[in-house]
């Protein structure tokens, strides 16, 4: 909603344990999350896959473990899920939406 805050890029590793940043407010509609960064009043829309990942960010589970759980649930290759998750989380982190 307002000008983007310039943040350093986030380059997550599989061992990171990210969680939603405290200033982020989430609502979900039809399987898609809308994230509001209340610090800068900026809104973000996640697609259903990113929404699923977002829901799993509990601040206790590493990205590697999340990837295994999601891969198991969806019968998908773990390495592919992990690679995709790192890309999505890099984007979310660089937007200031994560703490880790």
């Amino acid at each position: 909603m307002t000008g983007a805050q310039r943040l350093p890029p986030y380059e997550p590793t599989a061992h990171d344990v990210p969680r939603p940043a405290p200033a982020v407010h989430t609502v979900e509609l039809d399987g898609e999350a809308v994230l509001l960064d209340t610090h800068v009043n900026r809104l973000h829309r996640l697609n259903p896959t990113a929404t699923l990942l977002w829901r799993c960010l509990d601040g206790n589970t590493s990205i590697a473990t999340l990837a295994i759980e999601i891969a198991t649930a969806f019968d998908a290759p773990t390495d592919v899920v992990l690679a995709d998750a790192l890309v999505v989380l890099a984007h979310l982190g660089s937007e200031g939406l994560l703490s880790w």
Binding site: M1, T2, H25, V27, L29, D30, E32, A33, V34, L36, T38, N41, L43, R45, L46
Partner: protein
């Protein structure tokens, strides 16, 4: 003190032009749809300022000057715009969105967009087509998601005058200053008994006028609609978290669409078809 007056959402007011009875008559007709018994009203008066020079009429609010013009009738549009701002700024019950809106079969059709998107034009067209009027400027929701009607005069810009030649105001006033920049049109001039009642939003449409473009209505995902609606919500930044939750509840219960308007008649036809269809058939905003 309880008295007869007008209400713009929760902003209560009276208006008088003691030195210009024809202006007072015009104003009473203009705000007829907002007539109410008021208890805590602000008082607007049109008075000669006594000053020399071109701007020798004043619009005063509770005795304080808020606008000047060269004639009393030249203060009509400034008053309408001032009341819009007051109505919007004083609404604290829930989200208030920059949108026109009408009612069809007890459910609201909301036209949310920024300036110059054609909200008033579409709203007027839909009222002419048989829908009831909520507002051409602001959809005010309470905490339960119910829209309070704000049946202000429709403010029709010059670019749309040719679409509504029958709505040109013809007041018995000394000059045309009351309609030179914008026509202020009471909804009764479009259709009698056309003021809508409080309702929930059944449809949320994001119109955009594009000269010469094919008119087209297409569904949008509710998450996209929520972001668009937040962008068109007054004072969103002041309490964004609470408002986002309330806006999400509104969007969740509505069918959401984007509308490119090249032709008013075609746009109204599409929207009337949308609201005439069974809700299940239009529930594609996802």
């Amino acid at each position: 003190m309880t008295q007869d007056g007008f209400r713009a959402l929760v902003h209560e007011f009276t208006v008088s032009a003691p030195d210009d009875p024809p202006v007072a008559t015009h104003l009473a007709r203009l705000f007829a749809a907002q007539r109410a018994t008021v208890t805590n009203a602000h008082h607007y008066t049109f008075v000669p300022s006594g000053a020399s020079g071109p701007f020798h009429y004043e619009l005063r609010r509770d005795g304080q000057r808020i606008a000047t013009a060269s004639s009393a009738e030249g203060l009509v549009s400034p008053l309408v715009r001032h009341l819009n701002t007051e109505a919007i700024d004083s609404w604290l019950e829930g989200p208030i969105c920059h949108a026109g809106g009408v009612v069809h079969d007890g459910r609201g059709l909301m036209l949310a967009a920024d300036q110059e998107a054609g909200k008033t034009t579409l709203t007027a067209g839909l009222v002419r087509a048989g829908c009831d009027y909520l507002s051409d400027e602001a959809m005010a929701f309470d905490a339960g998601g119910v829209i309070t009607p704000f049946p202000k005069p429709l403010s029709i810009d010059p670019g749309s005058w040719h679409l509504f030649p029958e709505l040109e105001p013809h007041a018995d006033l000394p000059s045309s200053a009351y309609k030179d920049d914008q026509w202020q049109v009471p909804v009764e001039a479009i259709r009698a008994n056309a003021v809508g009642v409080a309702c929930q939003a059944g449809w949320i449409v994001f119109p955009r006028y594009e000269a010469g473009a094919p008119t087209a209505l297409e569904p949008v995902h509710r998450a996209e609609a929520l972001i668009e609606l937040a962008r068109n919500t007054f004072h969103f930044a002041d309490r964004s978290g609470d408002l986002l939750d309330q806006l999400a509840d509104i969007v969740r219960d509505a069918s959401c669409h984007r509308l490119v308007v090249g032709s008013l008649s075609e746009a109204c036809r599409l929207l009337v078809s949308l609201v005439d269809a069974p809700l299940d058939a239009t529930d594609v905003g996802r």
